[in-house]
Amino acid sequence: MSTLSLHQIRKQFGDVVAVHEMNLHVNHGEFLCILGPSGCGKSTALRMIAGFEEPTAGDIRIDDRSIGMLPPNKRPTAMVFQKYTLWPHMRVYENIAFGLRLHGFSRKDIDEKVKGALELVGLPAYGKRFPSQLSGGEQQRIALARALVLQPKILLLDEPFSNLDALLRVRLREELRRIQRQVNITAIFVTHDQEEALSLADRIAVMNKGRIEQLDHPSRIYEQPQTLFVADFIGVMNLLPAHQDGGEIIIGSYRMPVPSGNEYSGDVTLAVRPEDLAIVPSGSDAAWNGQVEHVIDLGHYRKVLVRTEHMGVLKVYLPKAVDVREATTLALQPTRYTIFRDHQTPIEVHAGSVPQLSLQGMA
């Protein structure tokens, strides 16, 4: 059983605070992604867990034992780096065996373990090669084998696939997940790629400016963003500045009700996913009217940019069956939206029964 917890971890470089008091608990066998834009402190957090950076304050515990004072070579963590960090002067076999030798395993044990690790990553015949003879994807697999062969308690991955091409990235992602389940190891994966995080993680920690904005299951991160940053960073979102006046949202000339108990007066932001905008019969009361500016065909659906009078350009996803062209006038209504106020739990609103326009009616 290996769990990891960070207590009030802080990292400061000179005057710059890279990580603000961060708390995190990772369960045994869990696959946790730390997701955020570059410079958000996610790599620094990971490097503190690995021991490459010393926290300015706070405590790191593995299985409830503090490891904050241990140098990286004494920590039960293993890291896969962004760049391919195989030692170029050693063959693949030696790369994997290096750590085992340092730990004093017998030659027979080393041989067995290296072979096992190579098989695990699907490259059993690669022991005699030099890293320069491997492709990027193969190098990263060997790096993974090198990390796993020591049976660390925590596996750390720092954007390991970001140097690979898109197709390979997806394949290795699936493979990593399979291996992680197979050896049942606790893993922390840092990435700026939301698709990667959403498809890999048991839980995602979205980081911004040195803070965790939201720690949640992937579906909740997408469906119920808890901060404006998460709402904007994950997926595509229409963010509309609006004003709340008591129990009503005022946006341009439109007025929308707010569920009771959420009365407030001041500026708010309305967040609407493109798939949550539906076409309604034109002329209906609450409909947002706009003109189609651009239609982008994305295979099984269309992304439509609609210029409105008060809300700028709205991104709308429509099924292919709906026939829209540039310069068509559309009436839209949100079926679901979230209201964000400063430092308050966002309010999720389901518009419930918005009358849908039949497809024929459009034509």
Partner: protein, 280 residues
């Protein structure tokens, strides 16, 4: 009907494409290779009468005679001992420094590193005269130690510059990966960092050895006439000797370590070691 155009003749086509290159090749063979070849031929000639293109009589007779001369028997061990000692000392003095320049952070680092480049701005010969004036006072002129010091100066730049670039070139992540699998910092240095910079260090040591083995000015000004090296005793042999073979044979002796260097020429070139330390 097929017409044979002039460009379809392979040789003509080749020449049109490579003409300039062939001209360069011929020019450089004349200008560079043939003079070197002359030395080689003279070293194995007993007689070479004008206007014969090749020696009129071949033989190794002069090798025995040259290598048994008293001055050469004294100078050769001197030259070798000097080169070995200078290479070792240069490494001891410069390698820790180049590691510091590459890896440690300290105030004034850039300036200090640049000061090595600035030594290029002094004409060597004039500089050795200025140093000789100081050495006179310390009674270092005409001593082995004096020659060692002057040769060290000569190779300092090389021994700082190449290793510094090499240490800078080692990706930090590769070392972190070593720490990560449980190696101590010392183990990382010995088993990961050093093997990776080894080619550069080897190049620096080799270049230092060879440069010291050849070096003429410093040895002449500081060492002569007490401490003689092969290049220094060659002056009279080239200038006043009616027998050209002495100079030719000693040239080849002097050239011998360069052959090793030539074997690595391609790697030296690709590593940028041949122009290291000139601020290019």
């Amino acid at each position: 009907m097929t017409t044979v155009t002039i460009t379809s003749i392979p040789f003509i086509r080749f020449f049109r494409r490579e003409g300039i290159g062939i001209l360069w090749l011929i020019g450089l063979i004349f200008g560079i290779v043939l003079p070197i070849l002359t030395v080689l031929l003279w070293a194995f000639a007993i007689k070479w009468r004008y206007p014969s293109v090749l020696p009129t009589e071949w033989g190794l007779d002069f090798w025995m005679e040259t290598l048994s001369r008293a001055d050469i028997r004294r100078a050769l061990p001197n030259s070798i001992a000097l080169s070995v000692l200078v290479t070792v000392l240069s490494a001891v003095i410069c390698l820790p420094a180049s590691f510091a320049f590459a890896r440690l952070q300290f105030r004034g680092k850039q300036g200090l590193l640049l000061s090595f480049l600035f030594t290029n701005a002094f004409p060597r010969f004039g500089l050795y005269i200025a140093i000789a004036v100081i050495f006179f006072r310390f009674k270092l002129v005409g001593t082995f130690a004096g020659v060692v010091v002057i040769q060290l100066l000569n190779t300092l730049l090389l021994m700082i510059w190449i290793p510094t670039a090499a240490f800078q070139g080692v990706d930090r992540a590769l070392e972190e990966a070593g720490l990560d699998v449980g190696a101590s910092p010392l183990q990382v240095f010995i088993q990961i960092t050093l093997p990776m910079v080894f080619p550069a260090l080897f190049a620096a040591l080799l270049l230092t050895f060879v440069n010291t083995f050849y070096e003429t000015y410093g040895a002449l000004l500081i060492g002569a006439p007490n401490v003689l090296t092969i290049p220094v005793i060659m002056f009279p042999l080239i200038n006043n000797q009616p027998i050209p073979q002495f100079g030719a044979i000693l040239s080849l002796v002097l050239f011998a370590p360069s052959v090793v260097l030539l074997l690595f020429a391609n790697r030296l070139l690709r590593g940028g070691y041949l122009t290291a330390g000139f601020g290019v």
